[in-house]
Structures are given as structure tokens and as C-alpha cells.
């Protein structure tokens, strides 16, 4: 989609930050997927010569990632809610007029 002629190429600070937050929101599930797929590389019970990962460690890891993701998502939500109520319903970040 072509931006309207009046669209700004460079946003002022607030709009810029907002867009980077959007990027973070988009990135977050990928980070989560990556972190949660890491356990597939762990040594499982029965691998020779390697001490298997203990269950308590696994629980701490999985739930730790979970908490981090939730906190990040919540923080991003708070940030975007404060700056723009309409966020998430517009395709592109709302362009704020620098004036």
C-alpha cells in the first residue's frame, strides 16, 4: 500500500518509539518460540554419558520464559495503551503531527 502523500518519512520521537514497540510486539512470539524450542536440544534421559537435565531445572526454565513473555507483553501493552488507545486496530502506526 502506497503511503499517502502527506505521510511522514521520519517520525518525531514519540511516534518512532511507538513503532519500535510494535516491532517488539511482533517479535515477541518468535522469541518465545525460540526459547521454548530450546529444550528439544537438551540431553534427554538415556543419552549416553551426559547428565540429563533435572525436572526442577526444566520447570524453572519453562515457567521462567513464560513469566518473562507475559511481563514483556504486559509492559508493551501498558506502553502502547498509554500512548495510543487505538493501537492494534490500525494497520500502520498512527502518524502524529510534529506541530
Amino acid at each position: 500500500m502506497q503511503p499517502p502523500p502527506s505521510a511522514l518519512v521520519f517520525l518525531e520521537r514519540r511516534g518512532y518509539r511507538q513503532r519500535r514497540m510494535m516491532d517488539a510486539i511482533r517479535l515477541l512470539p518468535l522469541v518465545g518460540l525460540l526459547l521454548w524450542l530450546l529444550p528439544t536440544l537438551w540431553a534427554a534421559n538415556g543419552s549416553d554419558g551426559v547428565e540429563p537435565v533435572r525436572m526442577s531445572q526444566a520447570i524453572v526454565y519453562v515457567f521462567g520464559v513464560w513469566v518473562c513473555l507475559i511481563l514483556s507483553a504486559g509492559t508493551l501493552w501498558r506502553y502502547l495503551k498509554g500512548s495510543n488507545d487505538d493501537v492494534g486496530t490500525t494497520e500502520h502506526a498512527v502518524k502524529t503531527d510534529p506541530k
Binding site: A44, I59, W77, V87
Partner: protein, 888 residues
């Protein structure tokens, strides 16, 4: 120790409480005080129907069997929620703008409102979800049985089958009562949603309570619990990487595709911002639900005998510790999980069944469908209620037939794989405009077939549906078709195998089918609408409203939406259109809106069919547009023809006007000619008469006088004769009665003859110069007539050339197809204003003595016209020039 009777009483009280809550919520919504019912919190809690009795009981059993793997069932949905921006945001927007009622409706609507697709998805959903409903019945009855036999080793003293029946009946009643009270999907399930939210809280609190009791009450603290976990039989990481990945993906896919999840995520969504909040709030819920699963499993494995059912640890652990109250709370949690799932799942399925199977059939039986009498709403609601009963009955039947066998988790996963088959068509439909109906159908059918073959049928065990030889060696001994080792790839976990092949081939089928087929216009329009939903949340396609009558629409809308609702809609539309009448004009926009409102009640395909019955199938398709274009092209051509004709007529009229003007002119000329001719005739006649009278009466006239008078009479008679000759000549020429005697000769001869004729007996001498005349110009024409013209011109020069030394130069010029002869004298030029008149009859210019009749040049012109040439006067410096054109 809680008795069965106490438990049943608690259940009844709990259900009554839910009824009251649901009823109060409906009341509040009806009175407009229902805003709090649609809060982000309620939305998030309603999503918890993802956590069914399977996750409530089964997760612990799953953990006791395979350690941490159970958590993948929660990881997938968490990722989907956290990644709401990628998919859910668009899905919810599409669902809201298109007024989608179910996952079948979404897919059917996207691919050109295809009813076939809707039916396929509905059937698949029913087949996929029925085991799941059976699972809930099973878990509720199992948990009931635990209280009569706390060890969980046998079925206990109660009749599980009849217990299952009563549970099923109760669930059916609740669903019917609150799910089908009114029709419009948009505000219909306030009661159900709030009941689900309450149940979500109950099951979370129950599980947390059991977990806290286990960690701090039994194990004695967090660190002790961790040590205990590490020392237990599941204390080491033993997860298969492929299963971990596949189950995470699968649960995420199922989270989107499960009909009940679609119902709460998309259909019941009231505000897109709720989704944003739920994106982090729902993962919290999921995390808390799974937080104490491993501890409960570990403690259960520690405390309870070897052969106890790990699926029921949530109940049996508190019971074994004498915590009857906690056990009852836990039971209520499991009961809540089961009931909420069954209610929403059957609701979603019944919507699909009634909209996509019953309504189309009913409509086709009705013939003219919506226009016949009867309240469609009653039909829809009735169809929905029957569907609910049928679906729960199917679940019960499955439960009876399967005998409540198998671990809970296994059945749940099979169900997940089944519904995950919707995913390619869904994602492709929302992100890829190229997806077509054929592709979606291919993908769904391929995926579903593979699911049945690799997952559902083998799940019954060897020799139940598929023989063990088939499982071992493939159908007809074809090894690469073995249900659990397709294409000869062995050693994959059966679940991973089924997920991998079904989704892979499903996606391939979808993409290939889409690539090679060509979508219908409606599919393409809907595709653009879905994919570009953020660019234009506009209308799906246009109806041409001319054929639909507002009255018919009103009648139909009332039947679907209900009287008050429909009247409100129509009234508002009429106001929007800016007039006071009760019924709005059936504009395409309005038809669009009515269809969308109706699709919220009966589904897109049905609503589309009903409107098209009214409008007479006048939905604007590309074919229609082409027809219209054709028609306009024809009209354009017709109008061009008309224009051409009109200009032709205009031309004709102008010609007629010209002709008329000419006729008038001719008439004037004729009058002038007559008066001229009478004048010309009278002048000599007067002389002749008067002189002849003098001669008759004057006896004393001298002979000289007599001679003089007689010669005057003679001259006048000659003049009269000449005039009459000329007139006759002219008349003959003008009437075209002259016959031409064509002959060959040279121009020089003709001119010499003319000069000789004119100079004989001429009074004064005119010097005629013919030196520049080429002698060799051949002629083939009427030479006598031509000579007459030349004689005329020469004698005119003789008469009128007023010069001291009159001179006439005759020259000729031969071109390709005409010979021009120029007669140039050195006399006084004819005044410009009389140029146009010199060839007219009786026009005498510079004729002071009045001897000419003024017919000479007129005769010349007539002769030349007859000969096919022409004569013109050419303005010439210091004289006059006549140009005679003779055709060759």
C-alpha cells in the same frame, strides 16, 4: 468422606448457581446494564474453555506419564496469544466485519460463500469434536466414581453409563436454555459467556487450591517439592524433541481452529482491544493452570498405589489425605471444565450444523425460501436445539461405544489434529488472496482423510477398525501406505507422524489446488475483503437492489432478526437515507447490511442464499458486470447510430432548406424572367406597332420617311426574331432537349471560323490576336455549339470593348483532361459587384445602346454545361478574361 449424594447435591447447587448467574447476566444485558459483561476480564476468562476436563484431569495424568511434555498443550496457545498481532488481530477483525458465526462460516465466507465448504468443515468439526465431548462426559463420570471408590482402581459401585447419561442430559438442557434463547450471534450469549467466566474462576481456584495443598500441605514447601520432583520417576528430562515441537505447533493450531475457541475468541469478541489485553492475561491463566501439574503428579505417584489412574490424581490426592472439602472443590473444578467446554462446543457446533446443513436443506425444501410464510427464526432456533441434542447424544454414544477407554490425553490430541486441519484454509484465506475454493476443499479433504487414516482409526487399537496386518504391513501389503509410517518413513512418533503428514499434505493440497484452479468472482471479491481487511473494512460485494422490494426484505428480516430488531434496522437505514418513510430504498449498501445482519444469525452462505432468492440472484458478479458492459456497448452503438441518423436528417433538412431557398429563388427568377421577357418583347413590339401605325395612317409621308420607318420596323422585327431565337435556344438548352452532334476537329479551326463569322460585316475593327494559339489541339465535341460560344464571346468583345485600340487575345492551354481557352480583351473591367450576374439571363452590363438582349452569356454557359465543360469570368488586370473549359 463425601458421599455420592452429597456430591450430586453440590453439583445441582452449583449448576443452579450458574443458571442464576447466566440468567442475571441475560437480564442485565437485556436492560442495557450489561457493559461489565463485556469487559476484557470476562473475555479473557471465557477463553479458558480451552482448558477442559482434559487439561484439568488429563494434564496431571499426562505429566505422570511423560513428564514435562504436557506443558506443550499450553505453550502453543500462549504463543498464539502473545503473537496476537500476527494472526488473531486479523482473524478477529475479519470475523467482526464479516459477521462470521463459526469457523465453518469463516471458511465458507472466504471462499465465495460456498455451502459445500461449509458443510465439509461442519462435518469435520462434528467428527473431530465428538470424541472430545465424550471425553468430558467420561471425565465427569470418572470423577464421580472416584468418590465411591477413592483408590480409583475400579469403576466403583455406581453405574457409570447411566451417570454419563444424566450428565449429558443436564449439559444439553443448560446449553439449550442459554445458548438458543435468542438468535443474533452478536449479543446472544451473554449468559453463557458469564457462566463460562465463573467456571473459569472455579476451575483455576480448584486447581490452585489442590496445588498449594500439595506443595505446602503435603510436600512441605517449595524447595522440598523441587527435591521431591527431581527424585521422582519423572525427575529427569525425557521429552522427545519432535513431539515437543509438534505438540506445541499442534496446540497453537487447535487453539485457533477449535470451534469452541473460535466461538469465544472471534464470535463473542466485543472489542478488539480486549484481545490486546487477553494477549498477556490469558497466558497468565494458562501458566497458573499448569503451574502445579507436575507437583500434583509427583505427589500422586508417591502417595497413591501403583495402579491408580493418574488422570484422577487431582481428586485422589486430596481424598487420600482426608481433605474431603478440597476434593469437592477439585471435583467442581473438573465439572466446570467439562460443562463449559461441552456447552460452548455444542453451541458452536450446533450453530454450524443449523446454519450450514439444516438451513440450506430447509430453504431448498421451501422452494421460494424466505418469502413464504412462517417464522424462520423459529426454524433456526429449533434446528439449533435439535443439533445440540444430537451432538451431545453423539458424544454420549461415542462414550458408550468406546467404553471410556484410553488415556484422556490421547483422545484430546487426536481431536486436536482433526480440527487443526482447518488451519491452512484459514491462514491461507486471510493472508493469501490466491487461495481458492477448490484449493481449500482439496486441502481440507486431503488433511482430513490422512487424519482419519493415520490418527483416528489406529487410535481404536489393532483389529478394531483397522486390522493389525494393515497396521503392520499397509493396505494390500503396500508398505509405504502403512497408517503410522506413510511413505516408508518409520520411527516417527505416531502423533508427530499424523501432525506432520496431515498438515503437510493438507497445505500442499490447498496451495496446489489454489494454483491450478480459477476462483469465481465472488471468491475473488471475498478474498480481497479478507486479506485487505485493514485497508477497507468495507462491503463484501454489491447487490443490485432494483429487483428486491423493501417490503419483502422487511418480511424476511423480521423472520430472521425478530420484529423489533428488524424494524429498528430499517428505520435507522431510512433515516440514514434521509427520508421519513418507514421503509428505506433497497440500495446495494442496505442489502449488504441486511445480509450481514442476517448472516450473524444464520451464517453467511444461508443469508446470501436468502437475499439472492429475494433479489433474484442479482448479486453483481463479474459476469453481470460484463453483461452490463455489453449492454452499454450496445446502447452506445445504438446511440451512435441515432446520432448518425440525426446528423443525416440534419443534412437532409439543410439540403431541403437549400433546395427550398433555391426554389424560391428560381420562382423569383422566373417572375423576373417573365417580366424581363415581356419587357424585352414589348420594346420592339411597341416600336413596330407605332411605326406601322404611322405608315398606315400617314399618307403624306415622304418616301424617305417611309423607308426609314419601314427599316426601323424591319430592324425591330429582326431584333425580336433574334430575341425569340435566343429564348428558344436557351429554353431548349435549359430543358436538356438539345441533341449534341459530336465531331472531331481542331480548336484552331473552330476559332478561325468564329472569328471569320464575327468579323464579317462588323462596323468597327477589333484586333484579334490568335498567335499564341497552338494549332494542334484536337477536340471531340459539338463543334458548332462551341463555335457559337466563341462567336458570342468575340461579338461581346466587339460590342463592349471600350478601348481606343480594342484588342482580343485568344489563347489555349491543354491540361490532362481539360482544354482551357482564354478570351482576354483590354476593355474596361466589369465591376466586381456584377461578376455574379454576368451569366444570368437578361443581364446587360455596360450595354449602353441596349442592342443586346442579355442572353448571350447565359446561352454560352448553358452550352458549355451541356458539353461537359464550363465558362467563367476571370478578373484580369487591365481587361476582362473569359475562360472556356472544354473536356477532352
Amino acid at each position: 468422606m463425601a458421599s455420592i449424594n452429597l456430591l450430586i447435591a453440590v453439583c445441582l447447587i452449583y449448576v443452579t448457581f450458574l443458571f442464576l448467574v447466566a440468567f442475571a447476566a441475560e437480564r442485565a444485558a437485556a436492560q442495557g446494564r450489561g457493559n461489565w459483561l463485556r469487559s476484557p476480564l470476562v473475555y479473557t476468562l471465557s477463553l479458558s474453555i480451552y482448558c477442559t476436563a482434559w487439561t484439568f484431569y488429563g494434564a496431571v495424568g499426562y505429566a505422570a506419564r511423560s513428564g514435562m511434555e504436557f506443558v506443550t498443550i499450553y505453550l502453543g496457545p500462549s504463543l498464539v496469544m502473545i503473537g496476537w498481532w500476527w494472526f488473531l488481530r486479523k482473524l478477529v477483525r475479519v470475523g467482526r466485519t464479516q459477521r462470521v458465526t463459526s469457523v465453518a462460516d469463516l471458511i465458507s465466507s472466504r471462499y465465495g460463500k460456498s455451502n459445500v465448504l461449509a458443510i465439509v468443515v461442519t462435518v469435520m468439526a462434528v467428527i473431530g469434536v465428538t470424541p472430545y465431548i465424550a471425553l468430558q462426559l467420561q471425565s465427569v463420570t470418572l470423577s464421580l466414581s472416584i468418590f465411591s471408590d477413592p483408590t480409583g482402581t475400579t469403576d466403583g459401585g455406581m453405574n457409570l453409563v447411566s451417570a454419563g447419561f444424566w450428565v449429558a442430559l443436564g449439559l444439553a438442557l443448560f446449553t439449550v436454555l442459554f445458548g438458543t434463547r435468542n438468535l443474533n450471534a452478536n449479543e446472544r450469549h451473554n449468559g453463557v459467556v458469564i457462566a463460562i467466566a465463573v467456571e473459569a474462576v472455579v476451575k483455576l481456584v480448584a486447581l490452585l487450591a489442590v496445588g498449594i495443598f500439595v506443595v505446602w500441605g503435603v510436600a512441605g514447601g517449595l524447595s522440598e517439592m523441587m527435591i521431591r520432583i527431581d527424585n521422582s520417576e519423572i525427575g529427569q528430562w525425557q521429552v522427545d524433541g519432535s513431539r515437543w515441537t509438534a505438540l506445541t505447533v499442534l496446540s497453537g493450531a487447535a487453539f485457533l481452529c477449535l470451534p469452541r475457541m473460535f466461538q469465544v475468541l472471534v464470535v463473542e469478541n466485543d472489542d478488539e482491544r480486549h484481545l490486546h489485553i487477553a494477549s498477556w492475561a490469558f497466558p497468565i491463566y494458562l501458566m497458573m493452570m499448569s503451574l502445579f501439574v507436575v507437583p500434583i503428579a509427583v505427589v500422586g505417584l508417591d502417595l497413591l498405589p501403583e495402579n491408580s489412574n493418574p488422570d484422577l490424581f487431582v481428586l485422589t490426592v486430596p481424598l487420600s489425605q482426608g481433605q474431603g472439602g478440597l476434593a469437592i472443590l477439585s471435583f467442581l473444578g473438573g465439572f466446570s471444565s467439562a460443562t463449559s467446554m461441552v456447552i460452548v462446543a455444542t453451541l458452536a457446533l450446533s450453530t454450524m450444523v443449523s446454519n450450514h446443513v439444516v438451513m440450506p436443506i430447509w430453504l431448498s425444501f421451501q422452494g421460494h425460501g424466505a418469502t413464504v410464510s412462517g417464522d424462520v427464526r423459529n426454524v433456526v432456533i429449533f434446528a439449533r436445539r435439535v443439533s445440540i441434542l444430537v451432538i451431545i447424544a453423539l458424544g454420549y454414544l461415542y462414550y458408550r461405544v468406546s467404553g471410556g477407554s484410553g488415556a484422556l490425553a490421547a483422545i484430546g490430541l487426536i481431536s486436536f489434529i482433526g480440527v487443526a486441519q482447518f488451519l491452512p484454509a484459514m491462514i491461507g484465506g486471510i493472508f493469501w488472496r490466491g487461495g481458492t475454493r477448490v484449493g481449500a476443499l482439496t486441502g481440507l479433504l486431503v488433511g482430513f482423510a490422512i487424519w482419519i487414516y493415520t490418527s483416528l482409526l489406529p487410535s481404536f487399537g489393532p483389529d478394531v477398525v483397522l486390522s493389525s496386518t494393515l497396521l503392520e504391513q499397509g493396505p494390500f501389503g503396500i508398505g509405504w501406505l502403512r497408517p503410522q509410517a506413510l511413505f516408508g518413513i518409520k520411527g516417527i512418533d505416531p502423533t508427530v507422524h499424523a501432525v506432520l503428514w496431515s498438515l503437510l499434505l493438507n497445505t500442499s493440497g490447498f496451495i496446489l489446488g489454489s494454483l491450478i484452479s480459477f476462483p469465481k468472482p465472488l471468491e475473488r471479491l471475498q478474498g480481497a475483503q479478507f486479506v485487505n481487511v485493514f485497508a477497507h473494512s468495507g462491503h463484501a460485494h454489491g447487490w443490485s437492489g432494483s429487483a428486491a422490494q423493501s417490503e419483502d426484505l422487511m418480511v424476511m428480516a423480521q423472520r430472521i432478526l425478530g420484529g423489533a430488531e428488524a424494524q429498528k434496522l430499517f428505520r435507522r437505514e431510512a433515516q440514514n437515507q434521509g427520508h421519513d418513510r418507514y421503509l428505506p430504498e433497497p440500495t446495494p449498501d442496505f442489502l449488504q447490511r441486511v445480509e450481514r445482519e442476517m448472516s450473524a444469525s444464520v451464517g453467511a452462505a444461508t443469508a446470501h442464499a436468502m437475499i439472492s432468492q429475494l433479489v433474484g440472484g442479482a448479486s453483481v458478479s463479474v459476469q453481470d458486470l460484463m453483461a452490463v458492459a455489453d449492454e452499454s456497448a450496445q446502447m452506445l452503438e445504438y446511440s451512435n447510430q441515432l446520432e448518425a441518423k440525426s446528423s443525416e436528417l440534419f443534412d437532409t433538412a439543410r439540403q431541403l432548406r437549400d433546395v427550398n431557398a433555391k426554389l424560391t429563388q428560381i420562382s423569383v427568377q422566373k417572375d423576373a424572367f417573365l417580366s424581363q421577357i415581356s419587357h424585352e418583347l414589348r420594346t420592339p413590339m411597341t416600336s413596330i406597332r407605332s411605326f406601322s401605325e404611322i405608315l398606315r395612317d400617314g399618307n403624306e409621308l415622304k418616301p424617305t420617311e417611309q423607308t426609314k420607318y419601314a427599316s426601323i420596323i424591319h430592324v425591330e422585327a429582326i431584333r425580336l426574331t433574334r430575341l425569340l431565337d435566343d429564348l428558344l435556344d436557351l429554353s431548349v438548352l435549359e430543358n436538356g432537349q438539345v441533341s449534341l452532334n459530336s465531331a472531331r476537329g481542331t480548336l484552331a479551326d473552330v476559332i478561325v471560323q468564329a472569328v471569320t463569322t464575327t468579323q464579317a460585316g462588323a462596323a468597327k475593327s477589333l484586333k484579334i490576336d490568335t498567335s499564341r494559339l497552338e494549332p494542334e489541339i484536337e477536340l471531340h465535341t459539338d463543334l458548332d455549339r462551341l463555335a457559337q460560344v466563341f462567336i458570342n464571346l468575340i461579338s461581346n468583345a466587339q460590342k463592349y470593348c471600350k478601348s481606343s485600340e480594342p484588342e482580343l487575345s485568344i489563347s489555349a492551354l491543354k491540361t490532362e483532361n481539360v482544354i482551357c481557352v482564354f478570351f482576354t480583351d483590354n476593355g474596361l473591367p466589369i465591376p466586381i459587384e456584377t461578376h455574379a450576374l454576368i451569366f444570368e439571363k437578361f443581364s446587360r452590363i455596360n450595354d449602353q445602346d441596349g442592342s443586346g438582349a442579355g442572353l448571350g452569356l447565359a446561352i454560352c454557359r448553358e452550352i458549355m454545361v451541356r458539353l461537359g465543360g464550363g465558362i467563367d469570368y476571370v478578373t484580369f488586370e487591365g481587361g476582362n478574361r473569359f475562360e472556356v473549359r472544354i473536356p477532352i
